[in-house]
Symmetry: C2
Subunit: 335 residues, 2 copies
């Protein structure tokens, strides 16, 4: 790989002039500029970002850590973030934490070593890692998986309202005995969704029954195993279910399948996040669609803003909640 020095030699100018041509910060006369461009082309020269970063201590790179890239919610978030980053001339590095705190710690350290200028973080389930990164001066914006601390920038769906809307919809459709299947309650967004459920019931004057709150995790098999026993008995099972995330929703469906139940006939279902790419399949599931792309996009914008206005003291933390939409389909048909 050729260097700036080689370009300078071939063009018959100094390295400074070449640098000026590249950065455009200092004007260069046309004939010289052309000679430099030609040399760059001839040598297939690509400026070494590494060296540039070392000098300027700006990498123009953002990192994003997600629990699992194969959960369809996250690729969309990443696309959004990438788009926002690109618009501002930033690059995005994405990595998976496998939802493990230790792995997340490693990655945080790695990203810091890579000198990313900011980090988007969908925290691993056990939460808590991250504060020291902030203290060290690398801005972090939390996504989706939001910690309990107040003083951080966060972007997510309006979890409470979204869940409330979903339950309201079920109530409107005539369902009363509604269960909720959640992810780990250690996650704040999962707690907020549960709150939304309670809120909707409260407003409708429907009693809240602890026995209808089923706390699961992000493995569909586990969720299916959890739901199975509680669904078999027709006398005690709920008439409708809200599941608060995609993997959980799949688990519920599998439990239906295992128990020979159909939806909405036996049990109605509303789930967060699309389970299929489309509504071409049966049963068509009513879905709370989170604005995944926008969450990524806005989060990256906020992060870049933080990076660029670092000097200005500690501005207010941003708390952005984007509305989810309800896509009504067959699985919650009115009774």
């Amino acid at each position: 790989m050729s260097t700036i020095k080689e370009v300078a030699e071939l063009a018959g100018v100094s390295v400074g002039t070449v640098s000026h041509v590249i950065t455009g910060a200092v004007p260069v006369t046309e004939p010289l500029r052309k000679k430099v461009q030609d040399a760059i082309h001839k040598l297939d020269y690509h400026p070494n970002h590494i060296a540039r970063s070392l000098k300027t201590s700006k990498t123009r790179t953002l990192g994003v850590i997600v629990p699992d890239l194969t959960i369809s919610f996250y690729p969309q978030v990443i696309r959004g973030a990438e788009m926002a980053a690109r618009q501002q001339g930033y690059t995005l590095i994405s990595v998976n934490s496998d939802d493990r705190a230790d792995r997340q710690r490693e990655l945080l350290s790695l990203l810091r070593s890579q000198r990313v200028e900011g980090i988007l973080l969908a925290a691993a389930a056990p939460g808590s890692a991250g504060p020291q990164t902030i203290e060290a001066g690398v801005p972090v914006v939390y996504l989706d998986r939001i910690p309990d601390r107040e003083e951080v920038d966060t972007v997510s769906a309006e979890d409470l309202k979204a869940a409330e809307m979903a339950v309201q919809h079920l109530l409107d459709a005539g369902y009363r005995r509604i269960a909720i299947v959640t992810g780990p309650q250690i996650l704040r967004n999962e707690r907020r969704r549960l709150q939304g459920y309670r809120e909707a019931l409260r407003k409708a004057g429907v009693g809240y029954d602890e026995a209808l709150v089923w706390e699961g995790n992000f493995r569909p098999e586990d969720v299916a195993a959890l739901c199975g026993p509680r669904l078999r008995d027709a006398a005690t099972r709920p008439r409708a279910i809200l599941s608060t995330n995609g993997p959980t929703g799949l688990g519920v469906l599998r439990a239906f399948h295992d128990c020979g139940l159909s939806t909405p006939g036996d049990v109605a279902l509303v789930t967060f996040d699309e389970l299929t790419l489309d509504d071409l399949f049966t049963p068509a599931i009513t879905t709370v669609v989170q604005p995944a792309y926008d969450i990524g996009f806005r989060a990256a914008q906020i992060l870049i803003d933080r990076i660029q206005n670092r000097g200005e003291g500690t501005a207010e933390p941003v708390t952005l909640r984007l509305p989810a939409t309800l896509r009504v389909r067959e699985s919650s048909r009115a009774i």
Copy 2:
């Protein structure tokens, strides 16, 4: 962010000693080592990869370019590649080309500027970009979307056999008039799949009908529009369809929906790539499952091998074809 110099000062040693502790290349006596470790911890010091890379000209970073991260095949590939990379101490940067050649060119340049040591490339549809990267000495391994040139390392599914197997299955199930809906034939893997289709028909002594080869693209809407007119007339429509990728498969399904057709009753369907995350939905679609994770994993291994054995002249190009499996479901029920 603290530097190696600060660590040295706090520990009361020279920077050289700190460096020795960090790299482990030169032995350091225990008491000194401990003092250094303490200082590192106290300062929350993270070695600056940038500076290290500049010095060693090794970034231990790989880049992967995919057309679209939201096509579910690619996240799996990336997970596999990430795993292989991690095992060897490499990091993976992933970026989207939007299936555009110009964007891909930019990204290739970007990755080179970032001094990634190797690139995994699922080429954008129009193909062709890439050679100059290879010439410049950054190894490239092609994935899934493979160029026509022979002298490059490539990893993909056994496209021909996979398609042949799918068609064979349809033939075994009693179908004869079988159409194929492909992606752009400019892509070699799409051509190979078409060849597999022809091969199966030939072996079975079933005539090949040009009118049953429908070339589409990766936008389901377009594919639906393409298929619609050819499906409406019961007299001329095929009795079964093979679609050679996920987006195409979705397009076919949408066309079924638009035309009021059901599968397998009216038209049987086999598609490459899972359309739903699971088989809980109806119609359950028979699927050719590509070993996406393995494709990523093996490709990254090959790439790292190339990087580490760069000296050894030009070893034979590796051509790795991994077998796909057929997951038989309802949509291809025997008649």
